[in-house]
């Protein structure tokens, strides 16, 4: 028994220290809510840097002038995977920020987990309406008919082509390919292969933003049945798209192409910028990179070719702002989201940097006078958003893996896409209960 007594004291000490620690932590958590009399501090987590941060600071300044009782406290949380985990643990621990900037792609997943505040009724009261935004932006911010996020900015994907290369091989630099057949013919002309090595490659369907989403929609396929909510990755049109990608890869030998598409993909090493790829699918977000690394690159952008040369389309993602479940100052946080989502906030937020989710704001920026940017804006009314489902990330990864397997000859496109459909729909079953 003497033994147990010997341990009693240290254990007691440990226990006391632990109690101290726990209480210290919990009082700390609540202290940031109120600052001074009648002023509410809204904490916002973000991963913004450089111009985007400058713009956000302008939004905050304008907002605080209009709402003297609210003070914004911007906290930088790194913009990669780490920020996700931080937010995740903060929400799980019941001590989240009032506002967090959030990839719209994740809205479905987080909303299904019950971790986002439903903004529908507040939006209705404030006059935030679906019609104000591009359809896909609203769609992607909503889950099962309820609004969970305020869309902030967006992007779109187009065919980039090197005009000098076009001239060099006798193609008209002002007539980019419109149909898939024209694209193939152009790619064929532009490619220069010496033995196993490409000196230049005309086009690689899956390079950069050439995801299966890109081609599936270009071929007229749908990834989700809107009536049932079921995933339809094996839609015949999507299969057709993947089949085309696979055939394309076979023609040029996938392993030989790997050099261009290997893991290394930083902007400075972009083979389109260095002139080793003549055409690629990419988004407006790479335009700035070209300006920076090769401002004299003579290139154009055009809608992504389709089998018929009509019904051009693209898809868009982008950022949003959310109020996590358990946030302490929901009303004040909403005030800020409202400001951010309306025209004034949007104008300040995306100036000289991003594409706004409000069409008229993009008019103001003069994007429609810019030969490159106007194409990205013009396609937006026909843009898609990825299915808003609790398993969005799983679907994304499965589609990427199916594309890779099929193009490398590991199973047919149909087999691979059947498996994607089955896997994702099975994973979705547990949310139907």
């Amino acid at each position: 028994m003497r033994r147990s007594k010997r341990f009693a004291f240290p254990i007691l000490v440990c226990f006391l220290v632990m109690v101290l620690l726990v209480t210290a932590c919990s009082t700390n958590g609540g202290s940031s809510d109120q600052a001074g009399e009648g002023i509410t501090t809204v904490t916002m987590w973000h991963g913004l840097t450089s111009i985007d941060l400058d713009n956000m600071n302008k939004v905050v300044k304008a907002f605080e002038e209009k709402n003297p009782t609210i003070k914004m406290n911007l906290v930088y949380t790194e913009s990669n995977e780490g920020s996700d985990q931080k937010l995740l643990t903060a929400v799980a621990g019941g001590n989240p920020p009032d506002v967090a900037l959030f990839d719209r792609f994740k809205v479905g997943t987080w909303a299904a987990q019950g971790s986002l505040t439903d903004l529908s009724s507040m939006a209705a009261e404030s006059g935030i309406r679906k019609e104000m935004y591009y359809p896909f932006a609203w769609e992607e911010s909503s889950y099962q008919g309820k609004l969970y996020a305020m869309p902030m900015d967006t992007d779109s994907r187009l065919l980039f082509y090197n005009k000098d290369h076009f001239k060099e091989v006798g193609l008209d630099p002002n007539k980019p390919p419109q149909t898939i057949a024209e694209l193939e013919a152009a790619a064929d002309k532009l490619t220069i292969k010496e033995g196993k090595r490409f000196k230049r490659i005309g086009f690689i369907p899956w390079y950069s933003q050439g995801w299966l989403y890109t081609w599936g929609w270009a071929f007229g396929g749908e990834f989700q049945d809107t009536a049932t909510g079921k995933i339809t990755a094996n839609d015949p049109k999507v299969v057709e798209a993947l089949q085309w990608m696979t055939d394309f890869g076979k023609k040029y030998n996938v392993e030989d192409i790997a050099g261009f598409t290997s893991a290394a993909g930083t902007e400075e090493m972009d083979p389109f910028i260095s002139g080793q790829v003549s055409m690629k699918i990419s988004g407006n977000f790479t335009v700035k990179g070209i300006e920076k690394f090769k401002p004299d690159l003579n290139y154009g952008v055009a809608p992504i070719p389709t089998p018929t040369g009509t019904n051009f389309t693209t898809w868009s993602g982008g950022g949003s702002a959310i109020i996590p479940k358990g946030a302490k100052n929901v009303a004040a946080a909403w005030k800020f989201l409202e400001f951010l989502g309306k025209e004034e906030g949007q104008t300040l937020l995306n100036a000289d940097s991003q594409i706004s989710v409000i069409d008229s704001v993009n008019d103001k920026y003069g994007y429609k006078d810019d030969p490159i940017m106007k194409e990205f804006i013009n396609i937006l009314p026909n843009s898609h958003n990825r299915p808003v489902i609790p398993e969005g990330q799983l679907l994304w990864n499965e589609l990427a893996s199916a594309t890779e397997k099929a193009t490398r000859g590991n199973g047919t496109p149909k087999e691979n896409l059947d498996r994607v459909t089955e896997t994702v729909n099975k994973a979705l079953e547990k949310y139907d209960k």
Partner: protein, 311 residues
């Protein structure tokens, strides 16, 4: 082995000094308590909780329900689980022996009495100071199939270099190559081990007319086995937890064709991107059991090949 104090002796101490001993013990505990509490709060409790979570559909954001062995059953039918095990074992089987071979060889070279040895030692240790993420980016450039330095050099001697990280067949060997860059840490430990070998043994061997090769085989290597044993166990545990390099190289995608999806990467993906923390917990425990079992096996076989100087 250090002989521990006989516990009977404690009883023999008179009661006044016994109280003093208790007091010093208590103070000791007090000083150790931040560590002890940290261990308890951030290791022991989460570990025990993850056992429970591995039987549930816990998603971090929601508590989840108890589903018995379902997570484990599902894992055995998950092709990517098996693929990630295969990749991880492949990496371990090649990386660990290679790292021991090159580590020992390097340490022996760096142990020679040559002028300016400190400089060489520093050079070989430097790469371990580079953060893994920076190392990954650096190697991405070096191994780039078209503009990379490695293929450029191979081309000079007429060899058509592979796609390295771009192809399934070369992606894992490339990773092993990169990882070997960081063996400086182990080399330092081997160097310490080499320094521990008494000079007399070599002198005795010299008198017996042993050449360099015989001295290495009969003196150096056997006496280095405790250090090799340590590095083997640590290297194996580390290899099974491979994460940062492949994650950075493939942006978390495990490309090409999942040939770079390592066990812990897939675990992370399940836990933090698919919100399947229960599933991820089950994976963590399977990994724990595998690593424990392998460590156990190494420990058992070590009796045959590890020589301690005292014995």
């Amino acid at each position: 082995m250090v002989k521990l104090a006989d516990p009977v002796q404690v009883k023999a101490i008179p009661s006044a000094s016994k109280r003093a001993l208790h007091r010093t013990n208590a103070i000791g505990w007090l000083f150790a308590s931040p560590w002890a509490i940290g261990l308890l709060c951030f290791y022991a409790i989460p570990m025990l909780m993850s056992i429970y979570f591995s039987f549930t559909t816990y998603s971090i954001l929601q508590p989840g329900e108890f589903i018995g062995m379902n997570n484990y059953k599902e894992l055995f039918h998950d092709p990517l689980f098996w693929k990630s095990i295969y990749n991880t074992i492949y990496f371990t089987v090649f990386f660990v022996p290679l790292s021991i071979f090159f580590g020992v060889a390097l340490a022996m070279m760096l142990n020679m009495k040559v002028k300016g040895m400190a400089v060489f030692r520093t050079i070989f240790f430097l790469p371990t100071l580079v953060p893994q993420v920076a190392l990954a980016v650096l190697w991405m450039w070096l191994l780039h199939p078209n503009f990379g330095l490695v293929n450029g050099m191979l081309a000079n001697i007429g060899i058509d270099g592979p796609a390295w990280l771009g192809g399934e067949s070369w992606s894992k060997p490339s990773l092993i190559l990169m990882s070997l860059w960081g063996i400086g840490q182990a080399v330092v430990i081997y160097l310490a081990g080499l320094g521990d070998i008494p000079e007399e043994y070599y002198e005795a061997a010299q008198i017996d007319g042993a050449n360099w090769f015989q001295k290495t085989r009969k003196v150096t290597l056997p006496l280095l086995t405790p250090v090799i044993f340590y590095n083997l166990v640590m290297g194996m545990i580390g290899a099974f937890q491979q994460f940062t390099l492949p994650y950075t190289l493939t942006k978390g995608q495990g490309t090409p064709a999942n040939s770079m999806t390592f066990y812990v990467m897939y675990l992370y993906e399940n836990g933090f991107r698919y919100f399947k923390m229960g599933y991820a917990s089950a994976m963590a425990w399977i990994l724990f059991i595998i690593v424990m079992a392998l460590t156990g096996i190494i420990f058992i076989t070590s009796k045959r090949w590890v020589h301690y100087q005292g014995k």
